[in-house]
C-alpha cells in the first residue's frame, strides 16, 4: 500500500512536469513575447533590451528550467494587464469557481444518484423512461445553450433568479444548474447501469435466497457496491466541471477563474493564462490522486500493479 501511494504520488509529479512543459510552450507559441509587452511603435533597441532583461536570448531549455524553478515557488510573474502577481489574482477568484463547481457537482449527485438507482430498481417503468430521456437531453445540451435558456426562462421570463453576477444564494442557482446538467446525465446513467450490474450479481441472488429482506439487500448490499465506481468518476467529472466553468462563468458573469482566463486570453495576458492553466491542472491532478487513494481504501479487491487510469 505504501509503495503504491509513493508510486502514485511520483506519477502525479511526472504529470505536473508534463503540464509545465505545455504551459511553458504556450508562451512561446506566439513567437516573440516581447512584442506583446511593448507598444507597437517600440524601437528595435527597446525590444532587444527587454529580450535581454527577460532572458529570452538564452537557449530554450535554460528558459524552461528558469520558468519551472519559479513556477514551483508559485511565481508565474506579473499579469501583463493587472500588473500584480498572476497567482494572487487566481487566489482571489478561485473561491468563486470552487463554489460554483462544488454546487454544480453537488446538484448533479443529489439528483442523479437517486434517479439512476430508482431507474435501475424500477426498470422499464415510466420513471425509468423519463430519466432516460432526461439523460439523453442532458448529454446533448451544450452548457452555453442551457445557460441561455435558463436565463431566458427563469431570469428574464419569470424573474425568479438573477441572470448574472454573484450576489446572494439565488445567484448561484442558474449557473450551477447549467454547469451540473451534463454531469448529472452522465452520473445518472452510470448509477443506473452500475446498480443493474450489481443487482445481477450472484451474491445479491444468494442474499435474496437466504431470505434477507429486499430492502436490506437493495440498500445495504447492492447500493454499497454500486457506489464504488461512482467515486472514481467524480474525480474526472470534477475536471470536466472546471473546464465547463470557463464557459458557464462567461455566460453568467460569475467572477471566477474561468472568466479571468477568458479575459486573460483575449488581452494576451500570457503569464496569467499560464498560471491559470497550471493551477487548474494541479488541482485536477491532486483531486484525482486523493480519489484514487480513497478508492483503493474503499475497494480492497483492487490491487494496483499500475494505475489503470
Amino acid at each position: 500500500m505504501v509503495g503504491y501511494v509513493g508510486r502514485r504520488m511520483l506519477q502525479s509529479l511526472g504529470v505536473l512536469l508534463g503540464v509545465s512543459v505545455i504551459v511553458f510552450g504556450l508562451l512561446h507559441l506566439t513567437g516573440d513575447p516581447t512584442r506583446l509587452l511593448l507598444p507597437l511603435e517600440a524601437r528595435e533597441e527597446d525590444v532587444r533590451q527587454l529580450r535581454a532583461l527577460l532572458g529570452l536570448d538564452d537557449p530554450l531549455w535554460v528558459q524552461y528550467v528558469r520558468f519551472l524553478g519559479r513556477a514551483v515557488r508559485g511565481d508565474f510573474g506579473l499579469s501583463f494587464k493587472h500588473q500584480v502577481p498572476a497567482l494572487a489574482l487566481i487566489f482571489q477568484t478561485l473561491p468563486a469557481t470552487l463554489q460554483l463547481t462544488v454546487a454544480g457537482l453537488g446538484l448533479a449527485l443529489v439528483v442523479a444518484v437517486p434517479a439512476g438507482i430508482l431507474s435501475a430498481l424500477k426498470r422499464n417503468s415510466l420513471l425509468d423512461a423519463v430519466c432516460s430521456v432526461g439523460v439523453l437531453l442532458g448529454q446533448a445540451m451544450p452548457v452555453y445553450w442551457l445557460g441561455l435558456l435558463l436565463i431566458m426562462v427563469f431570469a428574464v421570463g419569470l424573474g425568479w433568479f438573477p441572470a448574472a453576477g454573484r450576489d446572494g444564494w439565488t445567484s448561484i442557482v442558474l449557473p450551477a444548474t447549467a454547469l451540473g446538467a451534463f454531469s448529472m446525465a452522465r452520473i445518472a446513467r452510470m448509477a443506473r447501469s452500475g446498480m443493474l450490474e450489481v443487482l445481477a450479481q450472484d451474491y445479491v441472488r444468494t442474499a435474496r435466497a437466504a431470505g434477507i429482506r429486499t430492502f436490506v439487500v437493495t440498500y445495504k448490499y447492492a447500493l454499497k457496491n454500486a457506489a464504488i465506481p461512482l467515486v472514481t468518476i467524480i474525480g474526472l467529472e470534477f475536471g470536466i466541471l472546471l473546464g465547463g466553468a470557463v464557459i458557464t462563468e462567461t455566460i453568467f458573469a460569475w467572477p471566477g477563474v474561468g472568466r479571468l482566463a477568458v479575459d486573460a486570453i483575449f488581452s494576451r495576458d500570457y503569464p496569467l493564462v499560464q498560471a491559470i492553466v497550471a493551477v487548474l491542472a494541479t488541482l485536477f491532478v491532486v483531486i484525482n490522486l486523493v480519489i484514487d487513494l480513497v478508492y483503493t481504501y474503499l475497494d480492497p479487491r483492487i490491487v494496483y500493479v499500475r494505475s489503470a487510469r
Binding site: 505545455i22 448529454q139 446533448a140 445553450w145 431566458m152 475536471g239 483575449f266 491542472a281
Partner: protein, 290 residues
C-alpha cells in the same frame, strides 16, 4: 464469466428497445447531414444577406412574423433558417475532420503503447495523463488565439486536444489482443511488428474505435460551437451555430428565437449522434465502457 452471463438478458432487452432510438438517431442525422450538404440549394436566402428593414422579426407563427422567414431574422435582418442550414456545414464538417485527426493521433499512440508496452507504454500514458489534466478548452483557446482563428487551426487544435480518448481505449484493447493466439501465430510466421500491428492487431481493435469516434463526433460538435461561442471559432461571415448563439446572447431579453433555434440544432445533432453511438456500442460490444 458470471457477470456477462447475468447481464445478458438486460443487454438483449436494451438492444431491442434501442433499435427504435437508433433509427430515430439515424433519421435525424440524415436529415441534418442532408440539409447541410444541400444548404446552398435548400436555404431560402443568402445566409450573409442583411435586410435591415426586417431586423429581429420573430418566427412566422408569431405576431409580426414573416412567411418568408420561417424562423425569424436576427439583429442584422439575416434569415435564421438559412444561417442554421449553412452553419450545419461547419459544425458537421469541422466535427468530422477533427474526429478523424484525433483518431489518427490517438489510435497510433494507443497501438504503440499497448503493443510494445514497457517504457513506450509508460511514456505515452503519462502524456495521456497530462492531456487529461489540462483544461482542454483553455488550452484550445490559448492556442487558437495565438495562432489565429482559422478553420484549419480550429480543426488542428480540436484534434490535438481530444486524441486521449482513442489512445486509452485502443491501448486497453491491444493489451488483451496481443496476448491472443492468432497474434502469436502471426508472429511465429515471421511477420514484422509493423505488419503485425496493421494486419492483425488493428482490425481486431476496430470496434471500440468506431464507437469512440461516434461519441467523440458528438463531443466535437459541442466543442466547435463552444469555441465559436467564445469568439474563437471559424470567423464571420461564415455562419456557425456557436456564433449565432453568441449573437443571440445579447438579445435573450427581447428576441428569444436568436439563441433558441441554433441551440436546438446543436442539441438535435448531438442527440442523434449519441443515439447512434450508443446503439453501435450495444450492438458491437455491450461490455465496452466508454
Amino acid at each position: 464469466m458470471s457477470v456477462a452471463a447475468a447481464t445478458l438478458p438486460v443487454v438483449a432487452r436494451a438492444r431491442r428497445r434501442v433499435s427504435f432510438r437508433a433509427v430515430f438517431g439515424l433519421g435525424v442525422l440524415l436529415v441534418i447531414g442532408g440539409s447541410a450538404v444541400f444548404a446552398p440549394q435548400l436555404a431560402p436566402w443568402d445566409p450573409a444577406r442583411q435586410m435591415l428593414l426586417k431586423r429581429l422579426r420573430p418566427p412566422m407563427w408569431q405576431e409580426r412574423g414573416l412567411r418568408e422567414h420561417p424562423l425569424g431574422t436576427d439583429h442584422l435582418g439575416r434569415d435564421i433558417l438559412s444561417r442554421i442550414l449553412h452553419g450545419g456545414r461547419i459544425s458537421l464538417g469541422v466535427g468530422l475532420t477533427a474526429v478523424t485527426l484525433s483518431a489518427l493521433i490517438g489510435v497510433t499512440l494507443g497501438l504503440l503503447a499497448g503493443f510494445f508496452g514497457g517504457r513506450a507504454d509508460a511514456f505515452i500514458m503519462r502524456i495521456v495523463d497530462v492531456f487529461l489534466a489540462i483544461p482542454y478548452i483553455l488550452l484550445a483557446m490559448g492556442v487558437v488565439f495565438a495562432l489565429g482563428p482559422s478553420l484549419l487551426n480550429v480543426i488542428l487544435v480540436m484534434g490535438a486536444t481530444r486524441w486521449v480518448q482513442f489512445a486509452r481505449i485502443v491501448r486497453a484493447d491491444v493489451l488483451s489482443i496481443r496476448e491472443r493466439e492468432f497474434v502469436a501465430g502471426a508472429r511465429a510466421r515471421g511477420n514484422r511488428p509493423l505488419r503485425l500491428l496493421l494486419r492483425h492487431v488493428l482490425p481486431n481493435a476496430l470496434t471500440p474505435i468506431i464507437v469512440v469516434a461516434t461519441l467523440e463526433l458528438a463531443f466535437m460538435i459541442i466543442y466547435e460551437s463552444a469555441l465559436s461561442f467564445l469568439g474563437l471559432g471559424v470567423q464571420p461571415p461564415t455562419p456557425t451555430w456557436g456564433w449565432m448563439l453568441a449573437d443571440g446572447r445579447n438579445y435573450v431579453a427581447t428576441a428569444w428565437w436568436l439563441a433558441t433555434f441554433p441551440g436546438l440544432a446543436i442539441m438535435l445533432t448531438v442527440l442523434a449522434v449519441n443515439l447512434l453511438g450508443d446503439w453501435l456500442r450495444d450492438t458491437l460490444d455491450p461490455r465496452l465502457k466508454v
